[in-house]
Every structure is written in structure tokens, then in C-alpha cells.
């Protein structure tokens, strides 16, 4: 049996960010990854480092997201120095466009509630009207009534991020174990063993970061991770000259010039297929926002599954039954990469979650409904 300091189950953005953070902290770490059969939200996401809409009614999530956005530049620099890979981070702030006055008014109310809930922590935002937007967004459609802006938002190349995290993990001595599925798991306090095909590995700590796979894995370690798949679809245009100075929520232009169009939410189980009516809706909103988009060619389109907890907020926990077992679940593996590598991994390395993580425990789902 091979013995490690930590085992991370999952090699997507969440697992790789935590695994890299642990290896960098000097822990011998094994990262178990599935093969190409995996759903891999890490390869189907939109690439936003997005803050402004996170945590309505849950200010701890807004703070955690802000912490991540603040850690992102350090992580990006760190990865670039170690690997030479640029993750293309830009954090110029972000705009969420609103079509029609009704959407704009609703958005304004949401942003104001976010500000109130932030309290002394602060939440800086501005509402921009159509005229102000036309000064920074060429060819804005007449249906766009305005937008919300915060300085915290950004975007990055999430495929390069995944690549750079894996490369850094390996260079720090991490053991990457791909094409493995967890057979049997044996849990005892600070003593975990995982049976892989033909091999057993052990460690006093384990982190479950297997995305949708966490739902089945967590109970084996005295944890709960009731995540379900939520499908999102994306359309991608040909590359164009640079036109937007910042990401626009459901629209963004990559550094290479591609324009990505999103976004949608569907509850369809593990079906990764695409639906014309959803794609049409995405394209319509994009063309209403910027009529010139209608002239561009769509060169790719795909669907991927978000890892969605019941209330949309991340779940982080340490097992009470089997101390040393941790879990991390979220639908924002890109945005939260900074927090996972630079804040969550150090907590796991120290062996105890910080009190700021308490509201993210899955215990919040155990409260019985009021009679």
C-alpha cells in the first residue's frame, strides 16, 4: 500500500486547485482522476471569475467569492512562474446587461440588497443606463436598458488554468493517478484507504472533490454532498478583433478573440445533449444585446453539467464521524480556484476548517421544515 499525507479524489478544477495547494504546502498528495467518461464541468465552463451575483441572501458566499477573486492574481502569477502557462486572467470589473426596464429594475433591487447584506464588508456597485453603456460598448442594441457593474469581476482561460494546476501539482511532487475509479473506501478517524484497480493507497487526510461524484462518495466518509447536475449550454463564435473592454456576464470575448454566448439552466439529469430552443434563446439575447453578433458565424456549441447543491451555495465540510475527511462542492470551479488553492488547501493542510467555513456545512440541509 502506498501511503500519502493526503488523497484528493477528483482532478477537475476544484480537485486540482486543492491538490496543488496541498502539494505546495509540502504534503505528499495523491490526486485520483476519472477518465474521459467523466462529466468534466472543468472543460465545459464559461471561464468567468464572477463575483457580482454571488451570495444574494448569503453574504458569507459573497465574502468567500471576493476572497477568491482577490487571491486570483497571486495564483495566476504563481502558476505562470512555475509552468510558463498564462491563464489569461483579466479583472477589469464586469457588466451584467439587462434587456428592458423591468429586468434593469429587478437587477438594481438585487444589487442594492447585496450592498445592504454586505454590511461593513462593503459591496461597491453602479447601475449604468443605455447611454452610458454606448460609450464603452460599440453597437449596443436598443433593447439594452442598462447594466449593473462591480469592480470585482473578471475572466480567464479555464482550460489553461486546469493545465497549469495539473502541471504545478506534478512539479511539486504530487502523484497524479488518472483513469481510476474509486472501488472500495475504508474510513476511520485520520486513517483512510482507497482501493483502486490493482492498488491500495492510504492517507490520514482525504478531500472529496469529485464534482457530481461527491453525492455517492460523501456518505462513505460520514459526509453529505447532495449535489445534482444542472445543464448549461454555450455557443461560440468565430474569432474577431477585440471589441469589449470587460466581460458581460452571459457574454464574453476570450483573449484569442472568440465570443462566448451563454447561459442557460436546465434540470435534465445527466443528459449532456443540446436543445435548439435553448440555443435559440441564447442567440436571441446575444443579438438583442449586440445586433452585429447576428453576422458572426457560430463555430462550436456544447452543453455541460454544473455541480449544483440544493440551495446553489457551495458545500465545504469536515467529517465529524471520521476527522481528516473533507469535502468541497461548488458550481464555480473557475471563480473559486483562488480560494481553493490559497485558502481552503491551507486549512486542510492545517487539519481544521476555519470558522468562516461553518455556514457552508451541509448541516444547513438537516434543519427540519417548520410545521
Amino acid at each position: 500500500m502506498r501511503q500519502f499525507d493526503t488523497i484528493v479524489i477528483g482532478g477537475g478544477l476544484v480537485g486540482a486547485a486543492i491538490g496543488y495547494g496541498l502539494a505546495r504546502a509540502g504534503l505528499t498528495t495523491a490526486m485520483i482522476d476519472e477518465g474521459d467518461v467523466a462529466f468534466r464541468a472543468s472543460r465545459g465552463n464559461f471561464g468567468l471569475v464572477w463575483v457580482q451575483s454571488k451570495g444574494l441572501g448569503a453574504p458569507h458566499y459573497q465574502r468567500w467569492t471576493r476572497l477568491s477573486a482577490e487571491e486570483w492574481p497571486a495564483l495566476a502569477n504563481d502558476l505562470a512562474l512555475r509552468t510558463g502557462i498564462s491563464v489569461g486572467l483579466e479583472q477589469p470589473g464586469g457588466l451584467q446587461l439587462c434587456l428592458g426596464e423591468e429586468e434593469l429594475n429587478r437587477r438594481h433591487a438585487v444589487m442594492e440588497q447585496m450592498r445592504r447584506e454586505a454590511g461593513n464588508f462593503g459591496f461597491e456597485y453602479r447601475m449604468l443606463d443605455h447611454k452610458q453603456l454606448t460609450e464603452i460598448l460599440p453597437g449596443l442594441g436598443p433593447s439594452v436598458a442598462g447594466a449593473s457593474w462591480t469592480p470585482y469581476d473578471g475572466h480567464a482561460n479555464s482550460l489553461n488554468l486546469l493545465h497549469a494546476l495539473h502541471k504545478s501539482f506534478s512539479e511539486k511532487g504530487g502523484a497524479y493517478l488518472p483513469n481510476r475509479t474509486v472501488g472500495e473506501a475504508h474510513a476511520a478517524p485520520h486513517d483512510f484507504r482507497i482501493e483502486l484497480e490493482g492498488e491500495t493507497i492510504g492517507a490520514p487526510k482525504i478531500v472529496l472533490a469529485a464534482g457530481l461524484g461527491n453525492a455517492a462518495l460523501a456518505p462513505l466518509f460520514g459526509l453529505s454532498a447532495p449535489v445534482r447536475p444542472q445543464r448549461g449550454q454555450i455557443l461560440v463564435t468565430e474569432r474577431t478583433s477585440r471589441i469589449w473592454p470587460l466581460p458581460l456576464g452571459s457574454l464574453r470575448q476570450t483573449q484569442e478573440g472568440t465570443i462566448m454566448l451563454g447561459s442557460s439552466e436546465e434540470d435534465v439529469g445527466f443528459d449532456t445533449g443540446q436543445k435548439p430552443e435553448i440555443m435559440r434563446n441564447i442567440a436571441r439575447r446575444a443579438v438583442l444585446s449586440f445586433p452585429w453578433i447576428a453576422e458572426l458565424q457560430i463555430v462550436r456549441a456544447w452543453a455541460a453539467l454544473r455541480v449544483m447543491p440544493p440551495d446553489g451555495l457551495p458545500i465545504y465540510d469536515e467529517s465529524e464521524q471520521f476527522p481528516g475527511a473533507f469535502t468541497a462542492n461548488c458550481h464555480s470551479g473557475v471563480t473559486l480556484a483562488g480560494a481553493h488553492a490559497n485558502a481552503f488547501a491551507p486549512m486542510v493542510a492545517a487539519g481544521v476548517l476555519d470558522p468562516i467555513m461553518a455556514p457552508f456545512s451541509a448541516k444547513r440541509f438537516d434543519v427540519p421544515a417548520a410545521a
Binding site: L99, R239, G249, G262, S264, L288, W292, E295, T335
Partner: protein
């Protein structure tokens, strides 16, 4: 470097590739005309500016991008050559004309999207 197959139909479709007149058989792709023209490349990438020529010939690699009859960024391997077609070098990313808009915009309203998370 490239020649038509001996059993190919007669090259009766004349196209213009960067000012050169090239004849290809009916049904051949615009990318075939690019290859027969003998150009070292037909596009310059938006990222590094390096030259590229048709490669996969099946719509996957996007290295055959060209401006065809005034429309930029077309996959020339997926376009059938037509008499008089004008095939031009694709230099980097396509330029956007922000005033370029269709006459009929989609109907409004359209359901709001999610916005980067709960």
C-alpha cells in the same frame, strides 16, 4: 506540391485565389483550389500571426480559414468552389463592424439568463 488525381473530372470551375486563376473539378472545395494555387499559406492566426494552410480537409482544424466572396473566416474546406469565386487571405481575427446589423431583430422579451451563479 498538389496535383489533381488522374481520374478526377475535368477542371472546369475557375476561381480566383489571391489573384491567381485556378481551375478545379466540379464539386471540389475552395480549400482544394487554395492547395492547387501553391500558396504557402492562406491565413495568419489571430494569436501569433503565423501562416497556415488547409490541413484536415474535413472541417475540424480551422487552418483553412479564408475570406470567400467577401465573407471572412470561412472554412474553405467546407465550401464548394463556384465559378468566379474570390478566395482571399484571412489576416488574423475578423474585424467587427458594430453598425452591421440585421434588419429584423428577434422578438422581445427573451427570458433572462442566469448570471454567473446563485
Amino acid at each position: 506540391m498538389f496535383r489533381p488525381r488522374p481520374d478526377a473530372p475535368a477542371a472546369t470551375v475557375a476561381v480566383d485565389v489571391e489573384g491567381l486563376t485556378v481551375a478545379v473539378p466540379p464539386g471540389a472545395s475552395a480549400a482544394a483550389a487554395v492547395l492547387l494555387a501553391g500558396l504557402a499559406s492562406i491565413r495568419e492566426t489571430p494569436v501569433s500571426g503565423s501562416g497556415r494552410a488547409p490541413y484536415c480537409m474535413m472541417g475540424v482544424c480551422f487552418d483553412c480559414l479564408a475570406e470567400i466572396d467577401g465573407i471572412p473566416n470561412r472554412q474553405s474546406c467546407m465550401v464548394t468552389a463556384q465559378p468566379g469565386m474570390r478566395i482571399r487571405r484571412q489576416r488574423g481575427a475578423r474585424d467587427i463592424d458594430p453598425d452591421d446589423a440585421p434588419e429584423d431583430l428577434p422578438s422581445f422579451p427573451v427570458p433572462a439568463p442566469r448570471s454567473g451563479g446563485a
